[in-house]
Symmetry: C2
């Protein structure tokens, strides 16, 4: 279909197609749109080129930051004893936007996956231990998604943190608020039974 | 939601959101993906910056080209007497991919739209007339989408070409009214070529 496109356009279409969620058709439409906007090409091209040089990981929590220390770690009003472990910056932002948690974070960026070569080093577990000791963290909250790899990663980190004088917690799993029981999947229901809340008696 | 993103990342997300078909959510996902691929940032950034400098319009047919004259205009085996007028490069490619037409093309890039300020100049009608005379074109085939503005543009061009010793045809409406050419199936398009409507001369 693109036989008669100029080589640069073909290269751009193929590069854009390699991005997540962009098929060849939208890559083609985007490329033609860019072609009609030279000013945007200059601006966007520079931004993309500079991105990896400007944005780095916070040296404490590995959140995205344009400075050595991110805005959250700089915020001295937060609860110093709480450290919430999240998979990625998107999850961190989601928790922040809800505004129910006021401690600090640690961003793994990967979940444990021996197959894909993501081990303790990629997850930054060394600097996590360092941070916990340096900050005097008293509770580590595991806030990974309750997926297969999320659960495995939580279990692994909990095991590693066992020797330290810490409380280790994990976000509760169960039926989402507002969902009718008949729509809850079997695994969720099983978790909900296992983790049932004690209301009275013993 | 993006309060805690670094400024460069915010700027990139906002720039990507301005592209057609990309919402803030996919712009955010794309930006984070790019952040994890420094090599791709370098490559893609350069491509986008260079795009408008490398790709231009063929001096004859206004098709996209990286050289002064495009591959189709360079192809001497085509039927010199036929000139097919298309709206844009995507439509040209669609016709080429079906392979039923072996003449040359002329790309308007716009349809007539006084409201949006697209008049004869934007459509390149001067150089169209020049091309027709220089090439000794005998039949001009109007292959614009049978939409309101496509029909208006076809009528306008037919009117302008009236004084010239040419056959003027228009793709037959086997194509459903309102459907854009790039979505028409090969058989429908073939029918449309075969049954092209006779507007003048011949
Ligand atoms: Zn930080
Ligand atoms: Zn050409």
């Amino acid at each position: 279909m693109q036989n008669h496109y100029p080589p640069t356009l073909k290269k751009l279409i193929s590069a854009l197609s390699s991005l997540p969620g962009i098929g060849e058709k939208s890559a083609s439409r985007l490329s033609l749109f860019l072609l009609s906007k030279p000013g945007l090409c200059e601006f966007l091209g520079d931004l993309i080129k500079e991105l990896p040089f400007r944005v780095r990981l916070c040296k404490f929590c590995r959140n995205l930051s344009e400075e050595e220390v991110c805005g959250i770690c700089k915020d001295k009003t937060r609860e110093r004893e709480l450290l919430c472990i999240v998979e990625n910056p998107v999850n961190l932002l989601h928790l922040e936007s809800i505004g129910i948690y006021k401690g600090y974070y640690y961003v793994l960026h990967y979940l444990l996956s021996p197959k894909e070569g993501f081990g303790p080093k990629e997850l930054g577990l060394d600097s996590l231990l360092h941070l916990i000791q340096e900050r005097g963290v008293k509770e580590v909250i595991l806030a990974l998604s309750p997926t297969l790899s999320g659960e495995a990663t939580s279990a692994y980190i909990a095991e590693i943190l066992k020797p330290f004088p810490l409380t280790i917690t994990k976000l509760a799993c169960g039926i989402p608020m507002g969902m009718e029981i008949q729509f809850a999947d079997p695994l969720t229901l099983k978790k909900a039974f296992q983790g049932r809340e004690h209301l009275k008696g013993g």
